[in-house]
């Protein structure tokens, strides 16, 4: 079992299940802050996805996407929080 097999058959399915569970909270979650927290977790999981896929396909240039995703998810969460607070 090579490393790319481990990434494709073990790690990526676990991350996919994690995204599904988070998506259930995103759909259900009673208030808007719950949904924003779920989206934040989903984008963090996306960073993990990108890094794992970079290992699986042996292409380190994919890691640039992880940097951009980290930047955008922080801005998105802070923007959501300010929006929630401003509405009251």
């Amino acid at each position: 079992m090579t490393l790319s097999d481990v990434a494709i058959y073990v790690v990526l399915p676990m991350l996919a299940v994690a995204v599904l569970l988070t998506f259930v909270r995103l759909m259900r979650g009673p208030t808007l802050p719950d949904r924003a927290a779920a989206l934040d977790l989903m984008s963090a999981l996306g960073i993990g996805f990108v890094a794992t896929y970079a290992i699986a396909t042996d292409q380190p240039s994919l890691l640039d996407t992880a940097v951009v995703l980290a930047l955008v998810s922080f801005l998105g969460t802070v923007g959501f929080a300010l929006y929630v607070e401003r509405r009251v």
């Binding site: 934040d40 999981l45 890691l63």
Partner: protein, 125 residues
């Protein structure tokens, strides 16, 4: 040898990410959900990034992954704090098993915590 270390780190990171999402699904209120999800997801993502650094082992990749890791470690707690503060101010319900709420006296007068208008307003979104 490097592949084994990388695989082990990657699996550990995926397990932590899974734990974070289970906590996000099962915890009773917003603050506990954020507590479990931010801590475990930071650790999970960080471990996966370290695994990528170990696997590629080049200077450019290591510096990029370490920069991402430092950025994640800096921003995830800040984002969680801002979001938790906004949630408390809006009047998100605490779990009914909460034993202690030190902020009630400080933020209390500004918002009416009995007022469920906020919840009703956000319910349909």
């Amino acid at each position: 040898m490097r592949d084994e270390i990388s695989a082990a780190l990657m699996i550990v990171g995926a397990v932590f990410a899974l734990i974070a999402s289970i906590g996000m699904l099962r915890m009773p209120d917003l603050f506990l959900r954020m507590s479990s999800s931010t801590k475990a997801s930071t650790l999970g993502v960080g471990t996966i990034l370290v695994s990528a650094a170990v696997y590629f082992g080049e200077l450019g990749v290591i510096s990029r992954t370490m920069a991402t890791l430092a950025f994640v470690l800096l921003t995830v707690p800040v984002a969680a704090h801002v979001l938790g503060r906004a949630g408390y101010r809006v009047g998100v319900e605490l779990s009914d098993r909460t034993v202690r709420d030190d902020l009630r006296d400080r933020y209390g007068p500004q918002i009416d915590r009995e007022d469920i208008e906020v919840d009703a307003e956000f319910e349909g979104m």
